[in-house]
Amino acid sequence: MTERTLTPVLTRRWAAPKSWTIDTYTRLDGYTALRTALAADPDRLIQLIKDSGLRGRGGAGFPTGMKWGFIPQAKPGEQPTGPAAKPTYLVINADEGEPGTCKDVPLMMADPHSLVEGCIITAYAIRAHRCFIYVRGEVVHCLRRVHNAVNEAYAAGYLGKNILGSGFDLDIVVHAGAGAYEAGEETALLNSLEGFRAEPRLKPPFPATSGLYAAPTVVNNVETICTVPYIVNGGSEWFRMMGREKSPGPKIYSISGHVQRPGQYEAPLGTTLRELLELAGGTKGELKFWTPGGSSTPLLTAKHLDVPLDFEGAAEAGSMLGTTAVMVFNTTVSVPWAVMKWTEFYEHESCGKCTPCREGTYWLTQILQRMVRKEGTPSDVETMLDVCDNIFGRSFCALGDGAVSPIRSGIKYFRQEFLDLCAQQPGQHKQAVLSGSAR
């Protein structure tokens, strides 16, 4: 595709009246992919997803088909042993909490049946008979819609025993979280689902062999799974007509902040910020900094307007695609203030299991708060970078790595702004720098 436009696939039904009901869903081709899938060899479904090049939409971009292929399966005719002898679980990560990220919640609210259908097809492919959808607790309306969709699917015979006469059984349990960003990390999510604190587990063993209840488990993001039925219906070639070679497919870009028309824009992977801003009616004020995919992805600036926003493009620009949560900030917002706010978030959400992250985020917050109060010194900048070096790559899970992203990138592009804060006399211009609230 040369001309980049919007490609509504996952968002296509959203504007339909009562888009969340099974009637609307089936009227608009819903549950057709399921019939195709249930008639197929599960291994060929896994191959289809591998061929499509679908990569996880939860932030890390891991190839979905490969993840499914890691689930140990008994060889035909042989007695299963080891992990293959245990039940397999499918767990949906609907804990959306990465700052800036707001795609899974509207997706589940508007089109919960696409998630349910995706779950059934995925479970069939990986031979799971139990699926858990772990929904973030604070979004009760979303929980309601998913719960209702599951009920409707049971009533229609898409869930339960012998689905559509295929002999395949599946039960889905909708589970509400209780407020912890870290519960979005896949192994912490499994701990949380088992009734423990949301602290991550050491990997390996990976969830594919030792996940929920130490049994083989696939953990996938909501948007990833919602994409599956379309690939079954359209095929991998169709899917690859959108996006780029290594990052194919459509993606929901969530544009927020200082733009004229914030919202959800589904476009092929590889769309640039310049193009997205055009779609969103341009910025409000002058663009200063932005994130390609949430606060854990390093900040970019106006220099990066033409970076293709796919997994490779964002990485080449020194950031990450993350969750395609495009937060746009104009020149009224102080970078040290924004970085401080994000760091307070990581400090609050650090699970406390490992020292670099627990202590590091705490002290970084202290330093940043001091700087924003204009009580910092120029050496604080170096101290922070030093602390970041001690967190990055040395933390138990990726939250620690994410926590240093705003700081490192903020200093990289806006070092002078941090230093200027130190130069000022205490109390001077306090309002201007602290506010960040000028709209």
């Binding site: 191959q47 700052p99 309306h141 509400a176 919202g263």
Partner: protein, 330 residues
């Protein structure tokens, strides 16, 4: 509990280094309110009863259950080991949980292959019954799941949504994460603090009484395109201003229940907690609630634009293409 001026500056938190971890506010080293295994985290993760700061305006009364249950200082391992034997038989009366609640608890447990998975929903259930996670609630979960109260407490204290003190009829959560804050969320939170005369996780009015409101600042609520947002009982009120937020809490205090921008007709926080435990009422009730609005203009921005401009994704083949054969292996 943040005793400092809630209104200093427009960014409330910046004046209060520890505003976030209100539980630890006396312990500069505790780092994070989640570190309850840390020896430094203080003598109790349940400051509700005996640690209650004098002069907190929020708590004028406590429910009987809390009174009757001398706080067992939530045995969180190391930190409490010296004062309270962790496994001392708990003399907490769980009789406050009626038969219906017990029936629901059994239903929750039956959903899972392993009973312990029921713990989070059970704690939501406890909150729906008691308005917070009481000592009785901890014991109730422990009994049902055959866990120690320490095992339950350590989980209950980890998650933000589990409240350790009796909450108001409504819970108002203002997003003050960066994006919302920059667009006015900090100002909204500061305005509500002043208006209600309370700080983070404090309650204006007698907890549980009609019109009482617990206020909190929240992390990103996954609605950044609708910033600044707030929630009442976890239902969304989008695109707020300090004025609209004040009008909203005034209405709540008068006993009104203004409809959320996205969500079901408002009930109260305890009812929402019941839904979080997985109980949505009669099927018809669930259907009605489900139909509460959701698609904000922002949600549909891309969808509408595509329609306007006639943009579509590439057309799919008429029939699903044959599935690929499996590559080598096996």
């Amino acid at each position: 509990m943040s005793s400092e001026e809630p209104l200093a500056g427009s960014s409330v938190n910046s004046e209060e280094p520890l505003a976030d971890s209100s539980m630890n506010s006396e312990e500069p080293l505790a780092g994070s309110s989640m570190n309850s295994e840390e020896p430094l985290a203080g003598s109790s993760m349940y400051p509700a009863d005996h640690d209650e700061p004098v002069g907190t305006p929020a708590f004028t009364a406590r429910p009987v259950a809390a009174e009757a249950a001398p706080d067992q200082a939530a045995p969180t391992t190391l930190s409490t080991a010296q004062d309270v034997p962790v496994e001392r038989p708990v003399q907490v009366d769980t009789g406050v949980f009626d038969e219906l609640t017990r029936q629901r608890a059994r239903e929750i447990i039956a959903r899972y292959p392993q009973s312990r998975s029921a713990l989070l929903p059970l704690l939501h259930l406890v909150q729906s019954a008691e308005g917070y996670v009481s000592q009785a609630g901890i014991s109730f979960c422990a009994e049902l799941l055959e866990l120690t109260t320490a095992e339950v407490s350590t989980v209950a204290t980890f998650y933000t949504m589990f409240k350790r003190r009796p909450s108001g009829e409504h819970l108002v959560s203002v997003c003050t994460n960066t994006l919302c804050a920059a667009l006015g969320g900090d100002e909204i939170y500061a305005t509500l603090c002043k208006k209600l005369g309370v700080g983070h996780e404090e309650t204006a009015g007698r907890p549980g009484s009609p019109g009482s409101i617990t206020l909190e600042h929240a992390e990103c609520l996954a609605a950044c395109d609708l910033a600044p947002v707030l929630q009442v009982n976890y239902e969304f009120y989008d695109n707020q201003t300090p004025q609209s937020a004040v009008a909203l809490v005034e209405a709540l205090q008068r006993g009104e229940r203004p409809a959320p921008t996205r969500g079901a007709p408002l009930t109260d926080w305890r009812n929402t907690e019941l839904q979080l435990a997985g109980f949505f009422g009669e099927p018809q009730q669930l259907r009605d609630a489900v139909d509460g609005p959701s698609a904000a203009p922002e949600t549909l921005a891309g969808n509408r634009l595509a329609e306007e401009r006639g943009w579509q994704a590439p057309a799919m083949p008429d029939n699903p293409p044959p599935l690929p054969t499996v590559a080598e292996k096996k």
